[in-house]
Subunit: 412 residues, 2 copies
């Protein structure tokens, strides 16, 4: 079963927002066996919407549109679909009551005519009630296509997808299983890896695709498969991986089940261990990544960003003499930071980073790209030096990733 | 001049990566007067690429493709374009030398046949040398379309666009000016705003479009215009805004020239003031936003994340008695955190946040969604209570934004 996503909104075409809705929808559809063949972002214009719908006919049976369902003049998705399906708008009394309830309960301004018009919906559409807002979702069927329109506000759209769209699609269609497994490697370029894998790639079982994803020094290898029989698919893919691992054993660093912060989150909770952080060059990125996951407070004790040399002394009590002797980007300073964070936050583990992300040298005289990462636990303190190149964003990205990798390694 | 972006890669269609390349490219093209009419994400498959190119013919004169230019088997953009333009691959000796130089200088693994093949390029293409990598960009022209293919690795793509693609497009075409101005409002829903603006919207000058962007309680109002004469366009848009402001003066919070963290960054540097942070419920998000901007170390002294009640005492010396008396989510605790952060980081200003983002109550007994934000300066300490609803992500987002708004307000 193939789907196309149509994202409607000029804000996408001028680079004012990034299309995270498409990421959520692609994952959600894949999880029930629907493959996304195209994501099309278009303007809030009737002709653009009609053209995208026409073009979708030979590509996909499921069309999932987002955006343009608000109450204002620039929201034209509902009217366009109404015309496209030769339909008329009729008032849905349940939705009208829902909109009035939302205004009475949560909104400080009085309801107006435009809000009430959101209860006017195409007569042929199955209405998907939006518990978190006033813009209903709509489900149309025509000529073997299912066309679903959802609001673009992310948390409203997500709830509609999880609670109504996915269950309805699973009920309507017999869907296959789609599975992606991504393996992570470190230290070898994609072409060098590919050279090793020529025979293995040529012998891949049917229905399994293979891709290289190079980014910031790591190359991820992804196998994607689709089959009506989920357990047979898994077996086939795992058999292929069993033959792959020996070919990459020197560079293989593990599966990417989740983002690494999710693994850290899960493992710390599992092991009932606690964590704290002292960040310099990573500027709070690690703390922020971890605390963005609900439930982080059960293991994450806190973090301190000590950007400047003075605050390393004032906040963490790192002796000025130690910094002067070894420089601020050094193993002793990284280790002292980790020890102090661990002590002050009363945590089982602590991570510290100190380095120079560039573009200028800052307080440190270390070469741009140099980062020391230290891990402190009850029994030991460990530190390691990395040189991550001269591109600021990349240096920070790599330092964050490596710090999380190291703490995972020491936790296990 | 209209452009379409074609982003190639299965990773986009399974939700493994978010399409930030499209954000960069849309902004870059807008900045030279090129309008993006569609962004199309497709699979690494020959048929999908050919179909997208065929479909683009009536939509855009400039096609900017990214992805699929690597050295491995799943990279098929170059071969597809070569066939599409009835072309043949020829070795480009300059690029071959460049690839060999990159391997000799930066790569630990030896160059292989696949890497060398990256110097084989379509004979009809103008080659865009990639200073940061081995995948060259390509510029084709056919039947009044310019078709440009670039690597998908963000920093390689960005350098090629800034250094080569934009200058070449400006040279080839006479381009108009495109201008977007976004005004920010707070406290009124989009339909209530629209009701006020009916007459104003109907009287908008030709060539100026208007849009509402609701998100997390704020509604942004965007005017977009296009004209060959840039200064006349600006005048026309500013005249429309002069008539708009009186209609929204009670809810207008300023222009969105930049993201708010960029304004904070700029203003603190301008005023030579310094800033520190003590974050509880925002979990390091504010620190991380500010330190992601190069040059932050010139005004940002650091931040501490004190998630747990105990660390508020241990790291910032907030008296346990004060917390017990007023609860951890309270004005006195928020103010004490701000004062202590300011003192310990020796900064002119400090921001503190303490609240309950949910989903559970945590250490606090405050209602989910309650956040106290305090600002400390040399002369005063100020705090304010907010209730941001019961959606964790939204609570944190609003608290981060409001904290930055408040510190800007107190700075000025």
């Amino acid at each position: 079963m193939l789907a196309e996503l149509i994202s409607i909104g000029d804000e996408l075409l001028i680079g004012q927002v990034v299309n995270t809705n498409a990421v959520f929808l692609s994952k959600a559809l894949n999880s029930i066996g629907v493959e996304v063949v195209q994501i099309t972002c278009i303007s809030d214009q009737k002709e653009a919407i009609v053209e995208a719908l026409d073009a979708s006919k030979n590509k996909a049976q499921i069309i999932l549109m987002t955006g343009g369902l608000g109450p204002t003049k620039d929201d034209i998705t509902k009217h366009t679909l109404c015309d496209y399906f030769n339909d008329t708008l009729v008032e849905n009394t349940e939705i009208r009551a829902h909109i009035e309830h939302i205004f009475a309960s949560y909104v400080t301004t009085p309801i107006n005519q435009e809000n009430r018009k959101q209860a006017l919906l195409p007569s042929k559409a199955r209405v998907l009630k939006n518990e978190h807002g006033t813009a209903s979702g709509m489900w149309f069927e025509k000529e073997n296509q299912v066309i679903i329109a959802l609001p673009g506000v992310p948390f409203e759209m997500k709830a509609l997808v999880n609670d109504q769209v996915l269950p309805a699609l699973k009920k309507k269609f017999t869907l296959p299983h789609i599975k992606h497994i991504t393996l992570q490697t470190y230290g070898l370029g994609e072409s060098a890896i590919a050279e090793r894998l020529i025979d293995w790639e040529n012998a891949l079982p049917q229905g399994v695709k293979f891709a290289y994803l190079p980014n910031f020094g790591k190359v991820r290898l992804r196998l994607s498969g689709k089959d009506t029989n989920g357990s047979e698919l898994t077996e086939r893919m795992e058999a292929a991986i069993d033959k792959l691992i020996p070919l990459i054993k020197d560079i293989y660093t593990g599966r990417e089940e989740d983002a690494i912060e999710q693994t850290v989150h899960r493992k710390f909770i599992q092991k009932k261990a606690t964590l704290s952080l002292a960040e310099s060059c990573t500027g709070g990125k690690i703390t922020s990544l971890l605390t963005s996951l609900p439930g982080a407070s059960s293991y994450f004790k806190g973090g301190v960003v000590v950007y400047h040399t003075q605050s390393k002394t004032d906040l963490l009590g790192i002796p000025k003499a130690l910094i002067d002797e070894h420089s601020v980007v050094s193993a002793p300073v990284a280790e002292a930071m980790a020890k102090q964070a661990r002590a002050r936050y009363h945590s089982d583990y602590a991570i510290a980073t100190t380095g120079n992300a560039g573009p200028t040298k800052g307080d440190a005289d270390a070469e741009v790209g140099t980062v020391w990462i230290a891990i402190a636990s009850k029994t030991k303190v460990f530190s390691e030096k990395f040189v991550f190149g001269n591109h600021r964003e990349r240096v920070v990205h790599k330092a964050v990733h490596k710090a999380l990798e190291l703490v995972l390694y020491h936790l296990e």
